[in-house]
Amino acid sequence: MKKRLKTLKEGIKKIISRSTTKILTKGRSARKAVKSGFVRKAVSKAPVGVVSTPEATVKESKFYTGVQQQAKRSYEMPRDLPGGYGDCRIVLQVRDPWWNHTYWEVNESTINRLKSELGDSLYYNAKRVLRVYDVSHVVFDGTNAHRYFDIEVSEHATNWYIETAGPGRSWCVDIGLKLPDGRFILIARSNTVYSPLDGPSWITDEEWMVPEEMFARLYGMGFGLGKSSPVGKAWQERIKKALFSGILASPGMSSMSSPVRAPGGMAGARKFWLVVNTELIVYGATEPDAKVTVQGKDIKLKPDGTFSLRFFLPDGKQVIPVHATSADGIDEREITPIVTKETK
């Protein structure tokens, strides 16, 4: 008989948090961070940390096998993708009502052309800029934007997050050179994008008119209020007013029962820990054709007549009669180990 004592986890796992962005974990996700040593990192050029939504947590769980990122796997990483495609282009895409993202590539031949046109000294004294145009409601021809602003970027930058703070407006961006005398030399022009509204439209439909207050109420209900919704502040205030001033706050809100978990139960606490469990292995051998019972239960012998059973061993006394009967039923043997376990 052998007795094993093992710690169940191989080591102490630490939560490493990246310093630049706040890591927000709640409820299950917080436990997850502890248990699996996951690191939730958020590296974004935009000044917003990445947090998890319930939806994202569920989605992550689909891809969660428990394995840590560093686990060694027997497959090779494919080679890298090309750094560029020899294009001269810039692409603009919407991230949300307030931010757009742009990426660009300026190929060698364009740079050489600019150098020869401008001369080396002018070229090297020029600043590389993104010129962001507000092109709402116009067919942009390069001159008819409502306004524009410039963002200076380094020669090595290839993408940028642009804060337009312009929900409901259209945008276009040029990558170009700004010369010391103020001239702008266009390198490439992007597609046009439209930033979505961050609140309800001001346009109403005669046939489907709705009183302001009623709309605010429906609107608030649609959002289930508390959710960190993509709604501008001004509107949140209005909805709250309409909802709480009124006859009835949304009736479905009476969320019962689910206990509210004490938030951040683990925050601040030190993470060192130890788990100890014990298991007992009962093993032995007899004639391969014998009948064996352990604690009165039949067990199956391996072809060579051996057996091995493994039990979780709780505190207290375990009496384990092992009884063998020969195939012809004539011979019998019984051995009874008694094991006492206590934990201090």
């Binding site: 096998t65 990122q69 109403t204 969320s255």
Partner: protein
Amino acid sequence: MNKGYLCLVLHTHLPYVRHPEFEDFLEEDWLYEAITETYIPLINMMERLVADGVDFRLTFSLTPTLITMLEDPLLQERYLKHINKLIELAHREIERTSWQHDFQSLAVMYLNSFCKARDTFEKYNRNLVTAFKNMQDMGKIEIITCGATHGFFPLMDVCKESVRAQLKVAVSHYEAALGRKPQGIWLPECGYHPGHDELLKESGIRFFFTDSHGVLHGSPRPKYGVFAPVYCRGTGVACFARDLESSKQVWSSIEGYPGDYCYREFYRDIGFDLDFDYIKPYIHPDGIRINTGIKYYRITGSEDKKPYDMNLARETAASHAGNFMFNREKQVEYLADFMGKKPIIVSPYDAELFGHWWYEGPMWLEFLIRKIHFDQKSIKMITPSEYLYENPRNQVITPSLSSWGYKGYAEMWLQGTNDWLYRHLHKGSERMTELAKSYSHNHIDDLTRRALNQALRELLLAQSSDWAFILGSGTHTDYAVRRTKEHLLRFTRLYDEIKANSVDESWLSEIEYKDKIFPNIDYRVHQ
């Protein structure tokens, strides 16, 4: 007479993960776990409801990648092997926990559920799509489609040809698998970009879903908020918006049901808790500890976890179902008065929430459906197609750009960790369009045609939003990077070889064998 409708939508998706080149591949477990914990329990639930004469309506978006995997003989074979291993482990666990009765009864519970999973799997000849198809043919569920590989459409707006290909490939795949045309779609990540309804219309799709603000921030103002669908201006494609109140109750791990202390703890698995030598045959062959699916604890509310109590969890699920129904009744009654018409409450969830993440989810859903059937009159379950048939007159608006991701737009898929993808993905789209145009004539030899079709497969596989999501969430990123690169590199090589008229057939055969999806794909849809 009912006062309103409840439309439950279960988005049922996994990205395409199939590695015939490896004996055993960790990420294939995503599928096996979802089959055991979500798909089969939901199928069993529906079978019981039908057997008991309980009428119900659910909407499932079975994604083309998931259907492909569920129908794949290799993965079916591997699932059987996987479930047999689990059954063996459950037997050993019953023995090991002989002196620990709290745990032994749970080991028996797992054994039963694994055996039931295997029986169900075999009953449908290993093809679970049949189970869903039967339910649809009976009129109990509506199956809608999704982007072919779950590409996030708003970030594909600069290459609409790819959106079109995602839709057309999905629609023809749906027809082949389910024997009819899809009426609706779950846009991947619920991501809608104004104008994409034109592409939906072109593909014969009649409705889609957005998050709440997709409709609430649409223009002109939607008179009924999210409680009635709208038609898109110019196309007439219907758009249903999500009700966040009902969503929140189920999703949220803080205020929602799944966080209840009586429910099973997801993160305590014997794959990590037990002695290495003992558990080794049941984890990854490289000796990497992984989840087995056997979990003995409840959430408890503290780090000192208590053993899971089946009866307590069951009672809790029943009471949460009652609470959900009560809240919907009140919501519908209030709205019906307020609106002067019957509201529709649209509640979409990831299907894998039920069973995989929230172990008691399928139980909760079954309680809910039975209670709705027997205990009340205010709400009626409905599918979107039925609703539109009954309520053909709806307001016309232009919905807003939106998704159901973090903060409601594109940020989850467009941030510092994953924004590098788009330069390559967009280039791939541009090149695919170029190929589709220059090879649109009919005199194309077989080998080139095969290469062109495979090129589209590779591009579509690279577009899965799952890779960007995984990069964004910062877990499992190696695999997501690897998949994106592999597909893009294969695409680029095919592009170069096709253009140089020098397709390497043996290599092509190899990647056709590895990335074996959409057998009837036609590259010409990418235009």
